[in-house]
Amino acid sequence: MAEYEPKIIAFVCNWCTYAGADLTGTSRIHYAPNVRVVRLPCTGRIDFMLILQAFGQGADGVIVSGCHPGDCHYTAGNFHARRRWMLFRRLLDFVGVDMRRVTFSWVSAAEGAKWAELVNSVVADVRKLGPYEEFPQRLGGPGQKPIEVA
């Protein structure tokens, strides 16, 4: 690709943000195609290692999103996740990881438009920041290069 296209990986919960992104679709709201969504049952399931791995996998930006506080399908998974993120952010920031590239957001199943806005703004922000070249890449892993369209 001639122009730099940021690679964004999103970790979302099944019940709110994934459903919200479905609503974006049914509402036909267009947004940047740079995002790849990994669906998990709950934000509580999102291991912080996944975020590191995403960057090690060449992501330029990461989105982590789930239900608003109080709306968790599992009562409290997002509350637990929020605490974990709080510490994780502090640590990564301390060692100098560019936290502008990690966006945490609450997107409910009703917020189709918010999902589109979120993706667009993250793509725009990360585009401005440029490729995250300083972050070390995972070598020798089973990751595959994208297959070109024939």
Binding site: P69, R82, L87, R90, L91, G96
Partner: protein, 267 residues
């Protein structure tokens, strides 16, 4: 020193404990090694001095030590905090270990968690002034500088896992690094793997670390990995009021929550 030896001997003699985990003189005058005293003679080799910084609580969970019987462990506040954190984590039960708290040459025998809690309640909590200043100094630098520093430091990591071995709270029988389904942390000592290892180590100790410094002391590359633990300890304290190892009833900061925990960073 004599007080310590006497105490150890009387404990061993009365059968209150079968082993006293302490320090003995090491290869050089300022070096000490862990010493497991099981008899009066062995107790006579117990020493204590400025260089005795290793957190000996780490041995309490070792099967070999457990096999010796009930143990008394020698140490300062961080060793005691380890003991309480072990209690929180169901690793040591009340009354199954004795702590010999050392302070200004005095020895205090603490036989129950309650006694340890009370002892610690009267000692200062939180990070020391110097630790805090050091953290602030690091945090005060620009992100680019911080990254330059830490990527440089972590590049020197040889992944020997001495930090893990020294840490009393890294007691998993199968560490995440040894799990290859999936391969959480690449085995090779490369930049990514080193970053992952050091981040995961700090995160797994967040809300649990008692700030004994054994990890950094053990690091053959002299990387200040203890700072990673401290920054999280400080954050857990300011955000959640969580401090590990002061109470057996204290909940682990990451397995509880408050509905109104701060979330200004979430869009």
């Amino acid at each position: 020193m004599e007080l310590l030896r006497d105490k150890a001997k009387s404990l061993l003699k009365s059968g209150a404990v079968q082993v006293v985990i302490g320090y003995a003189a090491g290869s050089a005058t300022d070096r000490f090694r862990p010493h497991f005293a099981r008899s009066a003679d062995e107790a006579d080799r117990l020493v204590f001095g400025d260089g005795c910084r290793q957190n000996l609580a780490v041995y309490l969970l070792k099967p070999e030590v457990r096999a010796m019987g009930k143990a008394a462990v020698v140490g300062g506040p961080t060793t005691l905090r380890t003991l309480l954190q072990y209690a929180v984590e169901n690793q040591v039960s009340d009354g199954s270990a004795v702590a010999l708290a050392l302070e200004d040459g005095r020895v205090e025998e603490l036989t129950s968690f309650a006694a340890v809690e009370e002892y610690l309640a009267q000692r200062p909590h939180g990070l020391s002034e110097e630790d805090r200043a050091e953290l602030e100094q690091h945090a005060g630098r620009s992100r680019e500088d911080r990254w330059a520093y830490w990527s440089g430091e972590l590049a020197r990591c040889i992944r020997c896992y001495a930090c893990r071995a020294a840490c009393p709270l890294c007691y998993c029988e199968q560490c995440i690094t040894e799990n290859n389904q999936p391969q959480w942390v690449p085995v090779a000592s490369d930049a990514f793997g080193n970053l992952e290892w050091n981040v995961v180590r700090a995160m797994h100790l967040a809300g649990r670390c008692v700030n004994c410094g054994s990890c950094a002391a053990a690091c053959p590359q002299n990387i200040r990995i203890d700072l990673l633990n401290q920054v999280l300890a400080q954050e857990a304290m300011t955000q959640f009021g969580a401090e590990a190892g002061y109470s057996v009833r204290k909940e682990y900061a990451l397995s509880v929550f408050k509905p109104d925990d701060k979330e200004t960073f979430i869009r």
